[in-house]
Symmetry: C2
Subunit: 121 residues, 2 copies
């Protein structure tokens, strides 16, 4: 079984965290079986954190986990903190495959997307 | 004259801030005259901040400024800090039109974009 974990920063503002829940739901609705489970986690401030979500999906029978950093910049969280957490998980669950994708900010069409978003409001 | 200011969070990691410089350049290259000036600013950590960039574009003759929050979530920065900074600028420059667009995270195609980004690596 394959799982996708959308990993966001986490905010002190509940509405902001709720946006990630809604986003993960929307991704689920269009994923067409590419992943058996699509979950979310937060790096800071609130639960569930990445370790907790990894534990949940592994207990559900997952043996292949893709971690998607929902971050715009390749700052310290993306380059250091998230890889360190995934390395810890790899040591804890040696039978599970882990992959970290590029963060959303690395999307190559971002300049066009920005202009499009500005025009829409 | 019209200006677009791409407003990012700002990081302690120089490479991360440099990504915004490159991004603003790419937006410039495809904007096809929609804006006379396209600049960037950072909310925290490093210069130029939003006030400084607003001052620069107004001194260059701009009278219409669009502030684009390059943020994923409608957290406190997007809902409180950025509007407060723009309100201050409106009071300082009453002859200039200011507009804040929705942040990049509000892009309606984000779920599709996430799956696309995951597939590309």
């Amino acid at each position: 079984m394959k799982a996708l974990i959308i990993l966001a920063h986490g905010s002190r503002r509940e509405e902001s965290n709720q946006e990630i829940v809604v986003l993960a739901d929307k991704v689920k609705n269009i994923a067409n079986g590419k992943f058996d489970l699509i979950e979310y986690a937060y790096l800071e401030v609130i639960e569930p954190d990445l370790h907790k979500t990894i534990e949940i999906v592994i207990n559900a029978g997952v043996s292949d986990i893709t971690v998607f950093p929902y971050f715009l910049n390749s700052g310290n969280h993306v380059t250091r903190d998230i890889p360190a957490m995934v390395t810890t998980a790899m040591q804890k669950y040696p039978d599970c495959n882990f992959k970290i994708t590029e963060c959303i900010g690395m999307y190559k069409g971002m300049p066009e997307l920005i202009l499009q978003q500005i025009e829409s409001g």
